[in-house]
């Protein structure tokens, strides 16, 4: 019951290879079309990106990213490449409590409020102007990233008020911590 009206001839091996491709295609297409929402949840680049852009709104997401070593590594690379300015780790000889961290691109200074109630002012002095408005100061301390929203920059200076329990106080005093601005 066959007709040869549309007979096409080709190499057997090649046809077999194409058969594999077609079967694979159907398997993929079927599994994608049957997507019933019960699939594994995987963090993707878009998640890393929204965590980096809006850290305040994604505290849980950032925690989830940093729990997984592979995602943490990706997040680290992304944040480093997003930095407009960065300040590498300080020379280890620095004393226990620094009040100033200097860098080629910006300096940080931490001043306690004279009210002595545990409030600190972090003063960020940028040495160069940028085209975009800096949004965040962030830092890598003990292998995890933390973010602080920057106040409007005036004459290259921004200032953030923090409480003494804020993790930036420890980071500031740790020469190994790295700071970035984006």
């Amino acid at each position: 019951m066959t007709t040869s009206s549309d007979e096409i001839t080709t190499d057997l091996d090649e046809a077999t290879a194409k058969f594999v491709a077609l079967e694979n295609y159907r398997r993929l297409a079927t599994s994608l079309s049957k997507n019933d929402g019960t699939k594994a949840i995987t963090l993707t680049f878009q998640d890393l990106w929204s965590a980096a852009i809006h850290p305040e709104q994604n505290i849980d997401l950032i925690a989830a990213i940093q729990r997984d070593r592979q995602h943490a590594r990706r997040f680290d690379a992304l944040l480093r490449s997003m930095a407009v300015f960065s300040q590498p780790a300080q020379a280890a000889a620095a004393s226990d409590n620094m009040d100033k961290r200097t860098g080629e691109q910006f300096d940080l200074e931490l001043k306690p409020s004279s009210r002595q109630d545990g409030a600190y002012f972090l003063i960020i002095r940028m040495h160069n102007l940028v085209k975009t408005i800096p949004q965040h100061l962030y830092y890598c301390h003990n292998n995890s990233y933390h973010f602080l929203s920057l106040s409007p920059v005036h004459n290259g200076v921004s200032q953030v008020m923090v409480g003494e329990s804020n993790s930036i106080i420890d980071a500031f005093n740790d020469p190994a911590a790295e700071f970035f601005i984006k």
Partner: protein, 559 residues
């Protein structure tokens, strides 16, 4: 054949291993990514290309030009993350404008020639290459998946390396690194070993049947080959060919693969010539063509299925055309695509014996014997019944098409003219054309073309019973005979979606009718008294012996 058996068959067919959950999640999120304003980030074609490239393991060919694109981008000091966070969808022109705005900011690069917006020519030392942004855009989804697989940190290292790549060799080495990474990942997340094993069995079987000949043609895969193959491989409990339906569908796919390979071989010849030139660009152009061929070929089969899905009774809102049972039967027949009419006997076997086998499988799983499964096929005219069944289905579809057309007529919708008129006989179609010419000629004043067309349609609809009396009577008859929800009566509300569902319905139903027609007419054409064509009855009797004997061997004597 009961509807339950179809569902059972379908369930059994899906037992092949798919991609891992991780890959599935990555693919889904890549395909569903949108820009901030909600537009899809990747074009429909780029989405399709991603699946095709993975299925055919042809990513290396795509990664190579992609690396050249990354050379251009990295040299312009565009951060890698930029490409994955663009506010615009990944089109050739959005890529071009991103590159342009970056090159405005840095010093003009003497080696770069933006001779035409979408093709960028770069010279590195004495290596000159073209980057075709349309090609990159067509594979944008793969770019995303590569990043997810390799990781941002890994890809960034390679990206920065590409910024300083000095020659073809260095770019190729990065390209190979990437391809290796993807290969490793897919090995774990999309194992193809079982498909390859299947393919090898089929390959060896074919080689044996065709006498170790290295070439193969579509006609080699015929009804008898398929049954012989099944008889040989279904006895092995580990075999993927235990079910006759799997076997039949695999061979249909193999026929499509032959067509695909034949068209690609032609392309390959062309690209080998191109290698002698200095044309990497040429290769990428050919790649694109080849990718297009894959697309068209693969799309051919599923597209009928995709079309059919448009008239799925659970999707249509304002009208019901085919019912659920008819829909499932149609889906089963349409699966054969363009191979169907040459494999009519296989279709008969599939429709008759596959449900029996499905019930046997189900029974053996539940560890109870179902002796009745095979007794239900006592009727000697089973194949004729299948034919009758297909014919009835064809009639129903034709009737539904006409009833739907009559509904469009009732709505006095101008879509009637192009959707329904092709159903009429040629004589009456000619009458309609004449009537149209007459109306046009009777107009004295010049008029806007769109308004004119509407006017003519309205006029034609009004006079339809006079112009096309036979066709009109036929439609009216169909309306009486085929009463389905929403047919033959103007709806109270949402008449626009009603009209659009009817219009699509007519189009899809006509195509399905053509398909079914082709199946039955091929058979009738072959039932030539001069050949020793067996009658359906004897054919069935013979097949029943074969299948039942095999079933007993597979599932035990008790069945």
């Amino acid at each position: 054949m009961s509807n339950v058996s179809y569902k059972l068959l379908h369930k059994l067919a899906l037992q092949d291993d798919g991609p891992s959950n991780t890959l599935q999640a990555l693919l889904t999120s890549t395909l569903e990514t949108t820009t901030a304003d909600g537009r899809p980030r990747h074009s429909e074609q780029a989405q399709q290309n991603l699946i095709k490239v993975i299925a055919s393991h042809s990513y290396a060919k795509v990664i190579f030009p992609l690396c050249h694109f990354m050379v251009v981008a990295a040299q312009r000091k565009i951060p890698l993350y930029y490409w994955f966070t663009m506010t615009q969808p990944m089109t050739a022109s959005s890529l071009a404008s991103s590159l342009r705005s970056a090159s405005d900011q840095i010093s003009p690069d003497n080696h770069t020639d933006m001779k035409n917006q979408l093709v960028i020519t770069i010279a590195r030392g004495n290596y000159t290459f073209d980057v075709n942004l349309s090609h990159i855009a067509k594979h944008s989804a793969l770019f995303d998946l590569i990043m997810e697989i390799i990781g941002y940190e890994g890809l960034e290292i390679l990206y920065n390396k590409l910024a300083y790549a000095e020659n073809r060799h260095e770019i190729a080495s990065v390209s190979n690194d990437l391809a290796r990474g993807i290969y490793q990942f897919l090995k774990d997340h999309f194992p193809t070993a079982s498909t390859e094993k299947k393919a090898r069995f089929m390959h060896d079987f074919l080689a044996k049947c065709t006498g170790q000949n290295a070439s193969i043609s579509t006609s080699d895969i015929n009804d008898s080959l398929i049954i012989d193959f099944w008889l040989e491989f279904s006895l092995d409990a580990q075999s993927k060919f235990r079910l006759f339906s799997n076997c039949a569908h695999s061979w249909v796919t193999y026929r499509q693969a032959i067509r695909l390979a034949a068209s690609n071989r032609f392309q390959k010849g062309a690209s080998l010539d191109a290698l002698n030139e200095q044309g990497v660009a040429e290769i990428s152009r050919i790649d694109q063509n080849a990718a297009q061929v894959i697309f068209d070929e693969i799309a051919e089969g599923p597209s009928s299925t995709a079309k059919l899905r448009q008239i799925n009774p659970s999707i249509l809102k304002t009208v019901k055309l085919v019912n659920a049972t008819e829909f499932d039967h149609l889906a089963e027949l349409i699966k054969f695509g363009n191979e169907g009419h040459t494999l009519v006997l296989t279709i008969l076997r599939l429709l008759t014996f596959a449900p029996v086998q499905a019930r046997l499988v189900e029974a053996s799983r539940k560890r109870k014997m179902q002796a009745s499964a095979m007794h239900s096929l006592a009727d000697d005219d089973a194949y004729s019944h299948v034919f009758d069944h297909i014919n009835t289905l064809t009639d129903t579809i034709r009737g539904l098409t006409e009833a739907a057309a009559f509904s469009l007529y009732l709505a006095q919708s101008s879509t009637f003219i192009y959707a329904a008129v092709p159903l009429a006989n040629t004589q009456e179609q000619k009458e309609l054309t004449n009537a149209r010419t007459r109306i046009r000629a009777s107009l004295t004043k010049p008029m806007d073309e769109i308004i004119l067309a509407e006017k003519i349609s309205a006029e034609l609809l009004k006079k339809l019973p006079q112009i096309m009396p036979v066709f009109f009577a036929q439609l009216k008859q169909a309306r009486k005979k085929y009463r389905r929800k929403g047919l033959g009566k103007l709806p109270i509300e949402d008449s626009n979606s009603w009209i659009s569902e009817l219009t699509t319905g007519i189009e899809v139903l006509s195509e399905m009718a053509t398909h079914l027609n082709r199946l039955t007419s091929t058979y009738l054409a072959n039932e030539n008294p001069h050949t020793k064509q067996k009658t359906l009855k004897s054919c069935f009797a013979e097949d029943r012996d074969i299948f039942f004997k095999q079933f007993r061997q597979i599932y035990g004597q008790a069945s």
